[in-house]
Subunit: 344 residues, 2 copies
DNA sequence: TTGTAAGCGTTATCAT
DNA sequence: ATGATAACGCTTACAA
């Protein structure tokens, strides 16, 4: 913190007026002479006065700061969400304190404590993979503390959520594979404790059922880690067994899809002719791999924007005027590239 | 900000002691009876007491908060740096307020003001592409405000910088291409107002000169935008002219390299046989494109860690005990993949 | 061992 | 049109 930063008192002393006059003059309060206003502003300029937001925050019990709790910063989707949050916050005069949990519950709880200590006005959360007990959040909500959950929806009543329509995204992706003539579609699923994993799986199932394709349990494979090596190994093994040798893969994530793609190629199979692949998230690299990977685009920036937009709305409302529960689901967009297109 | 949050006064009232006693008891000050300490802590627990960091900050003129000004959050290198910063900050009890400039000078200045208003203890900056006048930073430095610049080094005297050794990275990449037998190496350069662009170009030049390869001005091409389409178009055009048809490309960035790769492939040339390519930054996708792209790995996480480590050191030192100028250059690592390897 | 009071920077309330 | 004062939550001389 800068020492020797000029305060209202300094301005007051220089001009032989009281601090209240200075305070009022700086904010163009009525009932202050233009002459005084001019002098005060001039002196403020001269002394390089900068209001102390901390003092203001203490005085007004309002910090114009929101906390963001996010699993990982180095993640295309999440960094995009952060970007949306930051942009909207900036435009509305709010600060963003960022905490990443690295998917650890302990860190989530301790970051939450710090944020609250710092008197944040509201909180945006995407909880960690380890989080199954949400009481640290529900306790706050009982006290009407403004919280908006994004991407990962907690298993709690009356929450405000901004998510991506994972079900539809998965449904569309799977249906697209079916329309391309693929018959035996394997699903590389995410960790089952995340609602997004469940939704994506449900979308996949729904598309199969609608098309009258029997659901085979052995074709639904969970990737707990979610890195490319894991799915590489999984697919290599699965494809060596005729029973689990699929002709298409719907992966819950592009990284996983990319590992699967490498495995398929390493087995001498052609994409999309022998095996069709669709991923999820449309990471930057998806268009650059060979063949370019079809993927479900998640509107990360909009998720961030909407989440903080709603949060700021709530912050400004009295608890009794707030909606109890809100669920915004933003639409995905299926980006069809070569990896899943064998019909021109 | 939570209303009805218990304060020290509440605890004091409940126990019929003074707030100072409570304050001292909570911090295990000597000279407070164990009995009182116990009772105070119990009551604090019961009332769900949480220290008010804002009040503390005001009182102590120290916020345990640092500001981070960064061009873009959605950027593999920068998000990695942020991750390093956040992790180290967390471990040391500091908060991170994040501001992205979207490469705009105006936003950089205004974010700086907000951060200072919020009484940050120090600042980590990677300035915007638009920034050519650094006076908003130098003014602060004159007042001994702790600032550490990362990645992008300002054109100022006596600054503290944590950067990547771009010169060496570029030198090694170019030398590698030379050792692979490539003779006519084109450089896709970054915006010349960024020191990193200049350094990378210098590394390229130095490797050529050392090998006695003549430097051809027409083989040094700037990519102002830095997206894949730009470099795609550039390379396509350049390679259609025999004069600028190179047999290798050193790109200042993986995105640019990837665009170049697509252009080369679209011309029916083989990589690495006809054209060798090396990028910079080792983005996540680099290993997943076809052929896998050789790239210069930048230790982003370490850049973030070192930058905030130094910042926190400075914050705790009196201005007169601080080093005037520090330049940490972290080593890059050349990741050799198929795109540049035609000699086994 | 504990209490009193001042102060961090700001503003709202009540005077003048 | 301006000033004095108290208060936001906390710490810390100084007193007791």
């Amino acid at each position: 913190m800068k020492l020797g930063q000029a305060t209202i008192k300094d301005i007051a002393r220089e001009l032989n007026v009281s601090s209240s006059t200075v305070s009022r003059a700086l904010k163009d309060y009525p009932g202050i002479s233009d002459e005084t206003k001019r002098k005060v502003k001039e002196m403020a300029e001269k002394l390089n006065y900068r209001p102390n937001a901390v003092a203001l925050s203490l005085r007004k019990s309002k910090s114009f700061t929101v906390g963001v709790i996010i699993p990982e910063v180095v993640h295309f989707f999440f960094s995009t969400v952060i970007s949306g949050i930051e942009d909207f916050a900036y435009k509305n005069g709010y600060n963003v304190i960022l905490c990443q949990t690295n998917e650890k519950l302990e860190r989530e709880k301790s970051s939450l404590e710090t944020l609250l200590s710092n008197q944040i006005d509201g909180l945006l959360v995407s909880y960690s993979k380890e989080t199954t007990d949400f009481s640290h959040f529900s306790k706050l909500m009982e006290q009407d503390f403004p919280i908006v959950f994004f991407d990962r929806r907690p298993y709690l009543e009356n929450t405000i959520n901004v998510t991506v329509n994972d079900f539809n995204g998965a449904y569309n992706a799977t249906k697209h594979l079916i329309l391309q003539g693929y018959k035996k579609i394997l699903h590389l699923a995410g960790p089952p404790n995340l609602a997004i994993s469940v939704k994506r799986k449900e979308g996949y199932l729904s598309a199969l059922q609608e098309a009258g394709i029997p659901v085979l349990e052995e074709l639904i494979v969970t990737c707990p880690e979610g890195d490319e090596w894991e799915s590489f190994e999984l697919i290599k093994k699965l494809f060596q067994n005729p029973l689990t040798r699929a002709d298409a893969i719907f992966a819950h994530h592009d990284i996983v899809a990319s590992g699967a793609m490498m495995a398929v190629k390493s087995l001498g199979l052609r994409i999309p002719d022998d095996v069709g692949i669709v991923g999820f998230s449309n990471w930057q690299f998806s268009s650059m791999i060979d063949p370019p990977l079809s993927s479900v685009l998640q509107p990360g920036f909009q998720v961030g924007e909407r989440a903080i937009e709603i949060l700021l709305e709530i912050i400004d409302k009295k608890p009794e005027d707030r909606a109890l529960s809100t669920n915004i689901e933003l639409d995905t967009e299926l980006i069809i590239r070569k990896s899943s297109q064998r019909i021109p």
